[in-house]
């Protein structure tokens, strides 16, 4: 078996396709590294500036009074840019890089609306008149280029030998067929992975030697996982190539079949399925939302005014009604925003489930979730933001409760504690990434990919065992 693998490797190493594949992969990976080095330090710098600005904001509010802090809220919360963004740019540009924890809607001469958590959306498409360009990230290189290379290495592995007659010669020796198949698979596997490993090493070398980007131990672990996913993915296409090559008599026909399968599964399936999935979502127009929000507010405020004017100006009862109005309004509006967010997320989840039939989507989703970019990462960020918002509100309530002179009525300046607060005591937002959470979301896709590989491998085995030489 090892003899066969070795023969295959020597055969491949001397071939034109090996040289071309190496050149192509190296070129793409180098481009990727250079682009990342140019863009990433800027991105990190911007994030740092924004975060420090946000801290200063909170400190200013905290120094003025508890009411100001509770009314203004923490302000914009920013998503930490991932160090592994060169692995998968993917859908990152379509996600907002912030959440707005301080969205104000109205103020009257005595009252101001309290902050709510809103989720601004990034719509880079709306004012982008440049045509689409494919981002050269690992997701693209692995998903498209590496899969094509894997097919080009295996399309003639069996049919080519049959054409030349060497298959008969090999099988006349006392070697079982499955040994031949495994040997061929191993040979193709190693000769596809040599250029890929080379390219990956060059890419990582360029990135890690630069001073602007720092990769920590966890990032290297994630890179290792991404590499394993890529290797699994190449196995899938190698198995597919062997399957078709064993089934079809001539290698030219085998190549045509393989390319068609590749084009359909890799190029068309993701976008066609996504447009079908996008169609099934029937979300209403945008103004529905603002109308609903306005109506809710209107109902609440008319109720408030009718009750408020029965009370004298400065009584505690009046302040209580004021406070109830403001807090109730904030609660309602925030719930509305959260409902909309959840509906949108559910739609995307549905669409992504449908597109998972295509292996390239699976592998790109996997790379995205392990690289800490993309949709799953965005959901983690939003989860962090929601936890932080709760923390912040609890902090306000606790500080207010600690002051015995306060009336404990939220929403009104006179109803809350007047004690000064130290800015250090205010909880700080920290956006963290959790590898085990990433594993949980990726487990399904990982298993699906493995299933594809196993099915194709056993298919190749069955076909090759039964085929007539």
């Amino acid at each position: 078996m090892w003899h066969i693998a070795k023969r295959e490797i020597y055969n491949n190493l001397n071939s034109l396709r090996f040289a071309l594949a190496t050149a192509l992969l190296l070129g793409l990976m180098l481009t990727n590294a250079v682009v990342h080095l140019r863009e990433h330090p800027e991105r990190v710098q911007r994030y740092r500036e924004r975060v420090s600005g946000h801290q200063n904001n909170i400190a200013a509010h905290a120094e003025s009074s508890l009411y100001d802090l509770a009314q203004e809220g923490p302000g914009y919360l920013y998503k930490k840019p991932s160090d592994l963004r060169f692995c998968a740019e993917g859908s990152e540009t379509f996600m907002s890089d912030r959440a707005q924890a301080g969205y104000h809607r109205w103020s009257t001469d005595t009252l101001k609306s309290f902050w709510i958590l809103a989720y601004p959306s990034a719509t880079p498409n709306r004012d982008n008149v440049r045509p689409d360009v494919t981002k050269v990230d690992w997701g693209f290189i692995i998903g498209y280029v590496l899969s094509l290379v894997a097919l080009l290495f295996t399309f003639d592995s069996i049919s080519g030998e049959r054409e030349r007659g060497t298959l008969r010669l090999t099988l006349s020796n006392p070697i079982p067929r499955h040994t031949v198949l495994i040997g061929k698979f191993l040979g193709a596997f190693i000769s596809v992975n040599i250029p890929f490993i080379l390219a990956v090493l060059v890419n990582l070398l360029v990135i890690s030697t630069s001073s602007g980007v720092h990769l920590d131990a966890e990032a290297w672990g994630r890179l290792g996982i991404i590499f394993c996913v890529a290797v699994l993915y190449t196995c899938l296409f190698l198995a597919l190539g062997m399957l078709v090559s064993a089934r079809v008599q001539r290698s030219a026909v085998s190549l045509v079949v393989l390319l068609l399968v590749w084009v359909v599964f890799v190029v068309f399936m993701p976008s066609t399925l996504a447009s079908i999935a996008g169609r099934s979502t029937s979300s209403g127009p945008t103004y529905d939302f603002s109308e609903r929000s306005w109506k809710l507010h209107e109902e609440l405020s008319s109720d408030y005014y009718s009750r408020r004017y029965k009370e004298p100006e400065d009584s505690t009862k009046g302040i209580e009604i004021d406070g109830a109005y403001v807090t109730k309004d904030a609660e309602q509006q925030e719930q509305l925003h959260e409902e909309r967010l959840n509906r949108r997320i559910a739609e995307v989840h549905r669409a992504r489930t449908i597109t998972r039939i295509s292996p390239v989507t699976i592998v790109q989703n996997l790379i995205e979730s392990f690289a800490g970019t993309g949709f799953e990462r965005h959901l983690q960020f939003l989860g962090n933001v929601q936890i932080y918002a709760r923390e912040f509100r609890t902090f306000i309530v606790d500080t207010d409760n600690a002051d015995p002179e306060s009336l404990h009525i939220f929403g009104v300046r006179t109803g809350m504690s007047q004690e000064p607060i130290s800015p250090e005591a205010v909880p700080k937002f920290e956006d963290t990434l959790n590898l085990s959470k990433d594993f949980n979301t990726a487990a399904m896709e990982l298993l699906l990919l493995t299933l594809f590989v196993l099915v194709l491998l056993s298919g190749a085995y069955l076909v090759f065992v039964r085929v007539e030489v």
Binding site: D127, N128, V253, F268, P270, P285
Partner: protein, 252 residues
């Protein structure tokens, strides 16, 4: 000359790759046209709703000076062939005095979910671009290298025919074989378009479809000629095939 063309044509038409090209083109184009038509109808409905609402808002206005007229851009039925920026850029603009709207003032109606933008949208021209360029190269890779290997090239050249003529014959017959699936699938797509009640194409649109066909043919011819160049320059079909595939992967 005619016999040469006929020979090449028959050679190409009888092959598996021609059948595969036609079949896969038809499959993809029909499936995608269905999806795209439904998508277009939805966009049109949302446009009509928006127009109605803006009309109503305008009639409810009492003072004209404070009024803001909202103008809507209808979706283009030809966006089914090539979507371009039709879905991407804003499709409603508010016009009032003292405001000159620019591209960035345009709003968007019809889609409530900005996350859905991350899924790529597709159109019929994209199918042509990818599949037909691939097939142009597959048709071309053994045009010369294959004949060279089987020795028929020598045989043909013993006859008193110019080398240029052989080239032209090969080019014409292969282009014919590539244009047939293109035309059939475009025809099918147009038939599907006309059956839809929401879409009415005028003569202008048909002229534009003609333009799309012309550009597609020119595009195909570029790829076929690249393949022919590779095939003539290399002596072995497998080398030619490898080179063509890498060129294709690199350029498209």
């Amino acid at each position: 000359m005619m016999t040469l063309i006929r020979r090449e044509l028959l050679d190409n038409l009888m092959t598996f790759r021609f059948a595969a090209a036609t079949f896969i083109m038809l499959l993809l184009v029909v499936a995608n046209t269905f999806v795209l038509i439904i998508d277009y109808e939805r966009r049109l409905a949302s446009h009509n709703d928006a127009v109605k609402m803006h009309q109503r808002q305008l009639q409810e206005k009492i003072t004209y000076s404070a009024g803001k007229v909202r103008v809507d851009r209808p979706p283009n039925p030809l966006s089914i062939f090539n979507v371009g920026f039709d879905k991407r850029l804003g499709n409603e603009v508010g016009v009032s005095h003292r405001l000159v709207p620019s591209l960035w003032d345009a709003g968007m109606h019809g889609s409530d979910n900005p996350f859905m933008d991350m899924f790529a949208s597709m159109d019929i021209v994209f199918i042509f671009e990818v599949i037909l360029s691939l097939f142009a190269l597959i048709f071309a890779y053994n045009a010369f290298a294959g004949e060279y290997e089987s020795g028929t090239l020598r045989l043909v050249l013993t006859h008193p025919i110019g080398r240029g003529k052989i080239l032209v014959a090969k080019y014409m017959s292969a282009m014919f074989c590539l244009i047939v699936p293109l035309l059939i699938s475009l025809l099918l797509a147009t038939i599907l378009l006309t059956t839809s009640t929401a879409i009415s194409l005028n003569s202008d649109d048909f002229l534009r479809i003609g333009g799309i066909i012309l550009t597609s043919v020119a595009y195909l011819s570029v790829f076929y000629l690249i393949g022919l160049l590779i095939s003539a320059a290399t002596r072995r079909t497998s080398t030619a095939l490898m080179l063509s595939m890498f060129v294709w992967g690199f350029w498209s």
